[in-house]
């Protein structure tokens, strides 16, 4: 009886973090096929790459938990990055002010989307897809399609620096972000309201939860995390690229779904998302190491996303049937 209970516990933990299995599998496969894979340098490299998608995934996480997907996040990473870079280089703003300007733009775009969804009852799919095109278009309009370079050296540490020569700053920021996100979703009323709103909007409304406000906040968090990702990315690339962040929103969705966040809303753990992002990072890193063509990498990402969602849907259905 006791051992049965224990086994159940183990299964439950495994169930919550099923993602650990594919991660382990990837590590084994890449270690065999990619000779440079299992090195300290490469591992840090993976983590640094992962950190940006992971931070953006925190925004996607709130959106998915509230019951939506935000397609604009990647484009906002691009746009906020351009504002940040352009602000410093062409408009002569100090880095902090430029960062705040970028944040203002990110929040404004999401405020518009949030308003369209809550007040004008637009499907989030349409509002965010539209914003994705607007954001990306503005990137090219503002820069005339040229990257913004000659950034001040003072911002280099964010994307390229290390803490005590060991831990890359982006990784440290990612860890802080997830500690905070995990805390918000587990211990605050806001976190619970997000789950309730995504799980059943009508029931949440009738329980006295201001579902429109919660939705709006999730959008704004998307704007915040887009900006944060953008600043790190600009610093890392040492330039403002109008195409930066392309496809990030998609990778963020994969990270969430692989990490156990249900696309039907109202479910998921923050820690899972970080693992999901690591999975995505390992996947792309390994493919790059064994020189898989980048076009094929896209194909693989699409396949992985579909498989992950199929698994999620299957799991939900099985649970419902076995009651």
């Amino acid at each position: 009886m006791n051992s049965g209970g224990k086994r159940f516990e183990i299964l439950k933990v495994l169930g919550d973090y099923v993602i650990l299995l594919p991660i382990a599998l990837l590590i084994v496969v890449w270690t065999i096929f990619a000779p440079n894979f299992l090195t300290y340098n490469n591992f840090m490299n993976v983590l640094r790459q992962v950190s940006m998608v992971a931070i953006l995934a925190a925004g996607q996480y709130f959106m998915i938990c509230t019951g939506f997907i935000d397609f604009a996040l990647g484009a906002l990473v691009g746009l906020c990055g351009i504002i940040f870079a352009k602000g410093m280089v062409d408009w002569g703003l100090p880095p902090v002010i430029a960062a705040l300007a970028a944040l203002a733009v990110g929040l404004l775009c999401e405020l518009i989307d949030g308003t369209l969804v809550t007040k004008f009852h637009l499907p989030a799919f349409v509002a965010t897809l539209g914003m994705m095109y607007i954001g990306r278009g503005m990137c090219y309009v503002i820069t005339n399609s040229y990257p913004v370079s000659k950034l001040p050296a003072s911002i280099g540490w964010i994307g390229r620096g290390y803490i005590a020569n060991v831990l890359p700053w982006p990784v440290a920021i990612m860890i802080i972000v997830y500690v905070v996100v995990s805390f918000i979703s587990k211990r605050t009323k806001f976190g619970r309201f997000v789950y309730a709103t995504g799980g059943n909007r009508e029931a949440a409304h009738l329980s006295g939860i201001n579902v429109d406000l919660i939705t709006q906040c999730s959008f704004l968090l998307g704007g915040f995390f887009s900006t944060l990702t953008a600043i790190i990315l600009v610093s890392r690339l040492n330039s403002g690229q109008p195409s930066a962040g392309t496809g990030y929103e998609f990778q963020a969705v994969i990270a969430c779904v692989m990490g156990g966040v249900s696309l039907s809303g109202g479910k998921g753990k923050a820690l899972g998302v970080i693992l999901g992002a690591i999975f995505v990072g390992l996947l792309t890193n390994g493919m790059t190491l064994i020189a898989v063509d980048s076009n094929w990498q896209q194909v693989v990402q699409g396949v992985v996303l579909i498989l992950a969602i199929t698994f999620d849907v299957y799991k939900q259905r099985r649970q419902a049937e076995s009651r």
């Binding site: 789950y195 799980g199 009508e202 009738l206 249900s262 649970q319 419902a320 009651r323």
Partner: protein, 496 residues
Amino acid sequence: MDNREVILDIQGLTKEFPGVKALSEVSFQVHRGSVHALVGENGAGKSTLIKILTGVYQATAGSFTFKGQPVKVEKPLDAQCLGLSVVHQELKLVETLSVAENIFLGRPQSGRGGLVDWRRMRDEAQKLVDELHIQLNVGREVSRLSIAQKQIVEICKALSFNAELIIMDEPSATLTDNELNCLFDIIDHLKRKGITVIYISHRMEEIFRIADTVTVLRDGMHIATLPVEQVNRQQLISLMVGRELGNEYPKLPAEITDVALEVRNLNRAGVLHDVNLNVRHGEILGIAGLVGAGRTETARAIFAADRMTSGQIFINGREVRFSSVRDAIHHGIALIPEDRKQQGLVLGMSVKHNTSMVNLDNVCEHRLLNEKRERELARSMIDMLDISTPTEEKEVRLLSGGNQQKVVLAKWLAVDSEIMIFDEPTRGIDVGAKAEIYKLMCQMAQRGKAVIMISSDMPELIGICDRIYAMREGTVSGELTRENFSQEAIMELAVS
């Protein structure tokens, strides 16, 4: 004994799910042309049995014969083709298509060149509807029909398969009395045509009114199959619950004092006009009426879930204006909605998280959620309401209907509101759970709370309320005090 032909012979059907035996060696016979009632508490195994008969589930052991032939039903279409159809409680129609299209869904009547012969399809559909002596235009879009009319469409659909056995899964749960009479006429009609009906219901009156035979299931086991003449209501109920049930409506005396809530001239454009009502502390107030009379809408408007066009609300004599549902809750109003799955619960959340949802401040410490307090709250509610769940961590979607309803109650009891509005609190739940809910409402009244119960079940309104308002066409059409209670009097006020 019944010497008619056995149309359905169920032999030792067993169904096991991981960890649960949903059905255990159930055997009984259904005779052709009879109305065979199937009763049992929620979780007794009725749905599982139906799902096996119609091919949704496969039995773990046992078999059944239909029209004397052993049959193997592997998918729902097999059953339909054999002549065995189900009219589900949650109707399965395509809302945006017409009645005729729904009846012949998936197998349109084709004419020359494989094109759909619309004319023939409409004619065939109309013929099926006319046979039931029902007025219904088969060209109408289903979304514009009432629930009762939609049921008729389902029945016609079954008939279009030449169904010889139709299973009706709680058809009456959402019908008003008038519509119910219409349904009974149809059942009579089917019976005369030699069609067998298996009728699932929680309402005793209906069983005694239309059934010939009744089968009782309990905890997945077959308890009895009897001609209806041989049992009475009390016996049937005790067979279902396996124990003697006391008074079905355990009304407790409570001291009725001051007016707790008063609504004056409540209007909501196109839905409600000049609704006036009041309820006192310690009182259980019933609101009767047909579906669409504006009962739920009134509750939602009071609760600020929908905006009112004009009107005044007074609580303990003082006028209040709610800007949001949250505001209404803060003023001590609770609304237990009619549709627990759509409106009452977050199905994917645990019992614990659903219970604490309305008033998270209850389980907060230093403005942060406190795991321990939340667990304690959930456990105390599970004990108090006798919710059957292995732990408070179980997702509510995995609980049975009655237990889900109890979780909705738990959620609102945790807030301790002064004015509680119950919208159809006993719809679709079993007798045992019903009695517990009545008791709970009475206890609340005893503690001085004002209780409003919206219900379509007249015996329960009469059994439990101190006063009843009837609503009709968006307004209160009359008021009855306990000494004037009767089903006739309520109906008089509810219909024009």
